[in-house]
């Protein structure tokens, strides 16, 4: 006679099914799962359906999902942000309703009640580094000049376009066949924040602090064109040979041939493009240059356009919250601290610090004082915070 599984047992078996597919199941649990599947036909069918559903998901390539850079940087967002609890609405077109409904129904019909106790009001998160101010919101300025603060986790509908945003990423979808004009919208990331946006063609862009990116909700026409108005971005372009990808900056144009690269336009007049994968052509005025992986195209007003090898730690460190200084003038370090951490930093007048340099590394996930002590120990430049929280070098 077949024994009936309790709801709780079923949930546990579902948990183990996902563990098995994700490759994290423990040997003991695997034996239990296999025993249950061989015994219970419904669960066995459910497992086959689940495996099938996941094999259908084109973007659920497990190997690829393990890559660090595909995921947001959690440590970068948990510290300064007190909790905002906004219900997240998911879009559903119900193209694959059967499996989802089945899974959702079996999975969670009674789960959760013993975990999310509604009585407990969430206490505010304590910033780990009290000297850092709360970061400002990332904003999206639409072509019609309306401005949307991308805070919390929300869904916003703008005409035929649905935006989904969290504290660290924006995605959007356009209703099929809907006429969306190619209006340009501007995403602005303030100091101390990083933000990711996924464009209409699935191209992924990670923006560093103090960056502005202009893009349309849909790429009409023969090419996909966006503009990095200022700042720094890491770009992973979705391949599409029939519609070349072009990034404009104030001083150059980059034509992309399917690729991953970092583009830095922080310094006025200077653009640096470090190529990680693929190939790009960089154009500045009449000059143009094809860049190979491991090389960086640099464009400056003095030297024009040239290529040089780049140090991956220096060029890409920001993606893990690090910045490397190499004989960097202290005034420039002040600018970078403001951008990275959102604190004002100044050099007191009369201090020798204004002509000094520093080499080393800052990690935004560590207390800023650790970095200040490094500076003090290696250069002798002392520091203090005034009552407004401004950092002074003296």
């Amino acid at each position: 006679m077949k024994t009936q599984l309790t709801q709780q047992q079923k949930e546990y078996i579902w948990q183990l099914m996902y563990e098995k597919i994700a490759g994290i199941i423990r040997p003991k649990d695997l034996r239990y799962l296999e025993a249950q599947l061989s015994r219970d036909e419904d669960m066995r069918e459910a497992f086959n359906a689940l495996q099938y559903a996941l094999s259908e998901e084109e973007n659920m390539d497990l190997e690829r999902l393990q890559h660090d850079e595909d995921w947001g940087d959690l440590l970068g967002v948990i510290k300064p942000h007190p909790a905002t609890r906004t219900p997240f609405l998911a879009r559903t077109r119900f193209e694959k309703p059967a499996i989802a409904a089945m899974i959702a129904g079996l999975l969670v019909s009674s789960a959760g009640y013993y975990y999310f106790s509604q009585r407990n009001a969430p206490p505010p998160a304590t910033p780990a580094d009290a000297s850092l101010p709360a970061a400002q919101a990332v904003t999206l300025q639409l072509a019609d000049n309306r401005s949307i603060a991308l805070s919390g986790q929300q869904q916003t509908t703008i005409g035929k376009v649905q935006l989904y945003h969290t504290e660290q990423a924006l995605t959007f979808s356009v209703q099929e066949n809907a006429a969306v004009h190619g209006g340009q919208h501007i995403l602005s990331v303030p100091n101390a924040r990083n933000y990711k946006v996924t464009l209409a063609d699935s191209t992924e862009i990670w923006l560093n602090a103090a960056s502005r990116l202009q893009f349309p909700f849909r790429f009409n026409g023969n090419s996909r064109e966006i503009t990095l108005l200022s700042g720094e971005a890491y770009v992973k372009v979705a391949a599409n040979a029939s519609q070349p990808f072009i990034i404009h900056t104030p001083h150059s144009t980059v034509q992309v041939l399917g690729t991953e690269f970092n583009i830095n336009a922080y310094d006025p007049g200077v653009v640096k493009l470090a190529l990680v994968k693929g190939a790009v052509r960089v154009q500045s005025g009449a000059a143009n240059l094809v860049v190979k992986p491991g090389m960086e195209a640099v464009c400056t007003p003095e030297k024009g356009l040239y290529a040089q090898p780049f140090d991956a730690r220096e060029a890409l460190g920001w993606r893990t919250g690090k910045h490397f200084f190499e004989h960097t003038p202290m005034p420039e370090i002040c600018t970078i601290l403001t951008r990275m951490l959102g604190i004002a930093a100044v050099i007191d007048s009369g201090s020798s610090a204004s002509t000094r340099h520093f080499s080393g590394m800052i990690d935004k996930h560590k207390p800023v004082r650790e970095f200040m002590e490094d500076v003090k120990n290696t250069t002798g430049i002392d520091y203090y915070f005034d009552q407004q929280g401004v950092l002074h070098f003296r």
């Binding site: 949930e11 994700a22 996941l54 497990l62 890559h67």
Partner: protein
């Protein structure tokens, strides 16, 4: 830049989470995000991979910001799975019907 995740003991991780160790959150996140992404992808199949990832990220952030780990008295994986699955179900139920 593929990184090998060294599996860590759930009990220790949970203890560190309760002690407010942000590195433990990062370890749990790296260890279990792919697993939960599969849950998101199958229970909310139409939100797309980018939004599914964002949902997983936001789940960890909310757990942290709301100190939810403090009240956990079941195995860590059980907590993560049940809470996240519940959340996906709610989001799915809240979705507007578009045919």
């Amino acid at each position: 830049m593929k990184r090998k995740v060294v599996p860590q003991n759930d009990k220790q991780l949970l203890r560190r989470l309760k002690a407010g160790d942000a590195d433990a959150l990062n370890d749990v996140y790296k260890q279990y995000r792919t697993w939960l992404l599969l849950v998101a992808a199958t229970s909310m199949p139409d939100i797309g991979p980018a939004a599914a990832k964002a949902a997983v990220e936001q789940f960890f952030i909310d757990c942290w910001n709301h100190n939810l780990f403090n009240n956990v008295n079941v195995p860590l994986r059980t907590f993560l799975f049940a809470s996240f699955a519940e959340r996906c179900k709610k989001q799915r139920a809240a979705a507007p019907f578009v045919s």
